[in-house]
Symmetry: C2
Subunit: 310 residues, 2 copies
């Protein structure tokens, strides 16, 4: 595919500009803040690089869209995609980042960090035995690159890792992969449930009371998308203790509004969508790698199936 005019926008545009030397590439680049992108810029471009479409986005002659994030629901969810436009996404170290995020909060819980910190603040010496991670059970929604990276890390520590996917196809590092809605047979036995799913029509509001009611005092970690969770049902589950602790990195509305109930609940940990941050270096590496592969017509591992949404 021949790409000549590349429009790069969004909050990384300026940082990316600093590390790309346009002289080294046959293409012409425009680096523009999101709110300053005009229809003329969009008409000029055949390549568009950003986290999401600008509010005035139209395809015009754009042939290639590259998402700076791993999730592409900003482009696809609720929008109509123009069929012949190629959509690629950033992959890179997200699997490592998200799996280390999940492990850190899981170990924090098993090792009783909060309880010891509380006692420390009162100068209290009260031993409690931390739990070992071996033989714990985890259920991971999503068995793609990120889910597999979690399964690889967790299973290496002796955790029994189950997966859930649309197809239920077996994947490496999972003891068993369930097709969606058959996983309820294992839900009550698992110690931690992790959502890594992209937002699609199948995963919108997937985590509601029907699923939560199967859980048995488990930890729920959401590193997928906030809209996959029915937030009021999650609050109920946290209050009746079917979910013991929720670790949430993504929310229906971000930043999480200051008057949201989540801020008030003792058994909710909130992080500001940082479990899979796109660093400038990685964003640039992945973008340039994709650009080179387009030129060489190599296989693209980060091509999105726009009908599936991931």
């Amino acid at each position: 595919m021949e790409i000549n005019n590349i429009l790069i926008t969004g909050n990384l545009a300026n940082d990316i500009k600093k590390v790309i030397d346009p002289e080294q590439y046959p293409q012409t680049f425009r680096f523009i803040e999101e709110k300053s992108v005009t229809s003329k810029d969009l008409q000029w471009a055949d390549g568009y690089v950003a986290f999401k479409p600008t509010t005035n986005f139209e395809f015009f002659d754009i042939k290639w869209v590259h998402s700076l994030g791993a999730g592409v629901d900003g482009f696809l969810f609720g929008n109509k995609w123009k069929e012949d436009v190629l959509l690629t996404r950033t992959i890179c170290s997200f699997g490592q980042r998200i799996s280390q995020y999940c492990l850190s909060y899981y170990l924090k819980d098993l090792q009783e960090h909060d309880s010891f910190r509380e006692k420390e603040s009162h100068k209290q010496w009260q031993p409690v035995t931390p739990k070992l991670i071996k033989n714990q059970k985890a259920l991971v929604y999503g068995t793609g690159e990120i889910g597999q990276e979690i399964a690889k890390l967790f299973s290496s520590l002796g955790i029994e890792v189950y997966g859930v996917s649309l197809s239920g196809s077996q994947k490496p590092h999972f003891s068993k992969v369930y097709s969606i809605s058959t996983e309820t047979e294992i839900l009550s036995e698992v110690d931690v449930v992790i959502n890594t799913l992209p937002l699609t029509k199948e995963t919108d509001k997937l985590f509601g009371k029907d699923l939560f009611n199967y859980m048995n005092h488990a930890i729920f970690i959401n590193v997928g998308r906030g809209s996959s969770v029915v937030e009021s049902d999650l609050i109920d589950a946290l209050q009746n203790n079917t979910i013991r602790l929720a670790v949430l990195d993504v929310f229906k509305e971000e930043p999480l509004p200051v008057d949201h109930r989540f801020w008030e609940l003792e058994n909710v940990r909130i992080t500001p969508h940082i479990s899979a941050v796109t660093t400038v270096e990685e964003a640039v590496d992945c973008f340039l790698e994709t650009l080179n592969k387009l030129k060489d017509k190599s296989v693209l591992k980060n091509k999105v199936d726009t009908s599936l949404g991931y």
Copy 2:
């Protein structure tokens, strides 16, 4: 070795009594609280099982001492050992426990848990990028069973793990093992320093300003023995930031006195000697396994070299 009369004492004695069925063993058992052990009990015994000697301890006819802890400094440090008495110790899951303890605090730091928790308490949404564990460098003092378990876990996550031991013999999972005092060449480069060493005359007060001055904003984790650290030097190092964070599970005096400076320092985490708790189940398993091996004259992996102290 024939053992007939086994005295079990210390704070696990009652719990161990509940799970051992004396009818199943040819030996006779006495389960006695530490302060109630008399000279007559000691004279009666040929096997002694506890975390440490009673205050009135004498060897009399005792042929075998089994330590319920991994550390045997309670028996050996500053005491004269009777040469022909066998000393064994509990090993079991300590390596797993300690390595997961260390990893949990290391990840907590890389993932900025405290910073996000602080922001959460003020309902602040302020993204910060967590650090990846890959390519971090760790230096582990002690390359025995526990040190090796840490090296195995850490290296599997892409951490470069260096070791320090008396001999400097190379061991699995370590990129390089230094003989003690030659490790100073790497000290300024490492992100985390972990002490797992037993307390012996060589390791008493080992961690003082001479070592701390080499460190460069590192984390210091002590899961070995408190007396290996010169506490006033550690406090200086924490204040001049050669050590960024100390995670301490062991102390010169335990419980840590309420008026100790450590309680006051913002960059010290204190846990009450729980990184390698002996659970009743594991204590019993390891004790009975050792008892069986004594009967069968099998090789004892947990035999202590009383001249080395571990």
